[in-house]
Amino acid sequence: MSEAPDDLKREDIQIKSLLQRHAERFDAPAGLRNSIMLQLQPPPSTSNPPSRQKTGGSMWAWLAFPLPRFASSFGLGAIVATLVVGQMTAGMQDKQAMLLAMASDHARAVVTRNTIEVKSSSMHTVKPWLSSQLGYSPLITDLADQGFPLIGGRRGFIGGTPVAVAVYGYKQHEIDVYILTNAVFQQFPSRLRDSLGDINGFHTTTWNAADLHYIAVSDMNAQQLAAFGKLLAKNQANE
């Protein structure tokens, strides 16, 4: 880093001194540090725990670790950024903050790989677990035969409300299926309810079944995701 010539006048030195001695330095609260760590770090159970590199000594050290392992799903953060920017510049209202919340939740889960609270390919395990956690009973079926194995489930948080998330796999991709009650879904602006749209290569598909709203989010091919949605909807209709 080249330092520009800096021939400080006496009063500049005085001001520097006043600020360095007296200006309050606000350290990041412990809670903030922890919640960002939770967002960005892989779960501690991995065989290769995150090491704080001395040289990084910085945000870099903890950003750098998860990147290579999760590069494929990494761009999901783009959803958050896009929506954050969109929300702030377009002056979106509270309702759209819900969409932001979902995208944030999704990105956080995928980026940290901290996605799965109940890991099972059995719908007879995942479904009761989600029901017990959330008080409503999503329709979940395994689609392994069709190439979309059920991986597990977790709780997501939309605007502070816990919602069921079923996690499916497709080749190298992951599909998060958000399952919302009507009360939560109605908080979305009506124009977004049918199609959340595509953002930076991430796609969504939505459908309803038995008074619940399903929103699948993934970075896989849009047609394949739509096919997945149709398939799951059809299986649900046959239940």
Binding site: M1, S2, A28, G75
Partner: protein
């Protein structure tokens, strides 16, 4: 870790604890998205730049206008600045007052956000001009003129506060 620097900047710019937390959290996620725009070892300037932009966006949203868009309009020409700032160094007794801490913090808070940020980056974070230019995404010349103006405004505010209070 640059989180303390990030939070300090956000806290000073937003003047609100909860909003500073939100902004830093958003910035951390955005940083993930823009990893490929990071070059070399300027991680601190890069991350503070993201934090700074998140703050400005939030501030403009809060006030319904671009935060301190008039900053450059009020920056005086060098000549005028010289005249106004010709009162010289701060008198020693003003530097030694027991209420300096309160007045320094109040004076800093009184500055327009664009001047506050340049003082924080320069004097508290001790960043080089080119690093500050990267954070604020402006030419180095702008950093220097804004810093000069910020010091002047700070001195005026600080002395004004001192004047209004018994020594």
């Amino acid at each position: 870790m640059h989180l303390d620097a990030a939070y300090n900047l956000a806290r000073w710019l937003m003047s609100d604890e909860a909003e500073a937390r939100d902004v830093v959290q958003i910035a951390a996620l955005r940083a993930l998205t823009y990893l490929d725009s990071l070059r070399g070892d300027d991680a601190k300037a890069w991350f503070l730049g993201i934090v700074r932009n998140c703050c400005m966006t939030a501030l403009s949203e809060r006030s319904g206008r671009i935060a301190d868009m008039d900053v450059d309009a009020v920056v005086l020409g060098n000549e005028e600045l010289e005249t106004l700032g010709s009162s010289g160094p701060i008198p020693e007794q003003e530097m030694m007052r027991s209420d300096n801490r309160a007045h320094v913090n109040q004076a800093l808070q009184l500055l327009p956000v664009g001047h506050r940020e340049v003082l924080i980056l320069r004097e508290m974070e001790e960043m080089a001009y080119d690093e500050i230019a990267a954070v604020m995404d402006v030419p180095i010349g702008t950093v220097m003129s804004r810093l000069s103006r910020a010091r002047f405004l700070f001195k005026q505010a600080f002395l004004g506060l001192n004047q209004g209070a018994a020594p």
